[in-house]
């Protein structure tokens, strides 16, 4: 990028050579006068302020930096997301979970889990995850969305890992058998229901009763209900008061709830 810095130094009569880690961000806005501004060690270049000749010179230097120095050319918000992904990858808990499961779950699920761990990282700090979940669903379909939900809810550490270790302890263990059970949980997610804004209370009630029946058959004695947003919280609370559902459950539900979030566990 030295060539580009040198060119910009010449164009704007400013010495950029001393700024070793200077970033360059390019934008276009003909409503503002400022054609250059250094902020947070980034030179913001407004190309609408350049003559066509100077614009061509800038483009030439970008190509040179790209070809000769392998400088990536990235959308700023994508660069920020990339850095956030790299930071999340380095978190010990995420590394441990990924390393634990990467040779146990189907190979095709490993990149999904990696993406799901990043979504969980964002969720835990209060960030918005809906677009990120859509990205996973777009590439990996409904399976991707389910794995992302299960990961956010802690299922990999709290359900799949104990399940694997129990199977190893029980003897006669095969990885295929673990993967079969894992696949059942992922494809049908029988132990969890994630309430979305388009789910009606009636359809959710049907789903809950069906999953209670399946879980009883497989001797799984609980079902977790998760919801974000006030409407979804209210739906779950209404379902927990439903007479038909109450007939099936034992004891009081365990509820972790705030105004816009709920996780309820029912036992049977």
């Amino acid at each position: 990028m030295e060539g580009l810095k040198k060119l910009l130094s010449g164009l704007f009569k400013i010495d950029l050579s001393r700024l070793k880690k200077l970033g360059i961000n390019i934008f276009s806005n003909n409503q503002i006068d400022i054609s250059k501004k250094i902020e947070n060690n980034v030179f913001n270049l407004n190309i609408s302020g350049l003559t066509p000749e100077d614009a061509k010179k800038v483009q030439g230097e970008i190509i040179k930096a790209f070809v000769k120095q392998e400088t990536p050319v990235l959308l700023k918000e994508s660069k920020d997301l990339l850095e956030d992904i790299e930071a999340a990858n380095k978190e010990q808990s995420n590394q441990e979970t990924l390393e634990y499961f990467e040779d146990k779950i189907p190979l095709a699920d490993v990149p999904i889990l990696r993406a799901a761990l990043y979504i969980r990282h964002v969720y835990r700090r209060g960030g918005s995850v809906e677009k990120l979940k859509q990205d996973i669903a777009f590439r990996y379909g409904q399976r991707g969305r389910i794995i992302a939900n299960l990961c956010t809810a802690g299922y990999f550490e709290d359900v799949f890992q104990p399940m694997y270790e129990q199977m190893v302890r029980a003897g006669g263990f095969s990885l295929d058998e673990f993967r079969d059970r894992y696949n059942v949980l992922v494809t049908q997610s029988p132990q969890a229901i994630f309430v979305n804004r388009w789910d009606s209370v009636e359809s959710l009630k049907g789903e809950i009763l069906k999953k209670i029946e399946i879980n009883k058959k497989y001797k799984v004695g609980y079902l977790a209900l998760h919801g974000r947003g006030r409407n979804n919280v209210n739906k779950i609370l209404e379902l927990l008061r439903d007479a038909d559902i109450q007939k099936q459950i034992v004891g009081d539900p365990e509820i972790d709830s705030k105004a816009d979030f709920i996780a309820a566990k029912i036992r049977f």
């Binding site: 990235l74 994508s78 990339l82």
Partner: protein, 84 residues
């Protein structure tokens, strides 16, 4: 893409996407897809063979001009590739 991570990237805003595409002899067709400027019928593809719309364009990294999409999965793959 080996070694790319050592270099601070050049970044751009949405407003400069057309300028960046022009830099690499690309443009946008009538349906919003990025295409080769000297052969507009040839759509630019990601390393997975996906066509890219301008709204999904996130940049270019070295490796025979690998075009990157802005979704989470593509950027995770890029993070992995830049680590190597």
């Amino acid at each position: 893409m080996k070694g790319s991570r050592k270099m601070e990237p050049i970044t751009f805003d949405d407003s400069a996407k057309a300028f960046i595409l022009e830099t690499f002899d690309k443009e946008v067709d009538s349906e919003g897809y990025i295409v080769e400027k000297n052969n507009p019928k040839q759509k630019v593809l990601t390393r997975h063979g996906e066509e890219i719309k301008l709204e999904d364009f996130a940049g270019i990294v070295k490796g025979s001009e690998v075009f990157v999409k802005s979704d989470l999965v593509s950027l995770i793959e890029l993070a992995d590739a830049l680590k190597r």
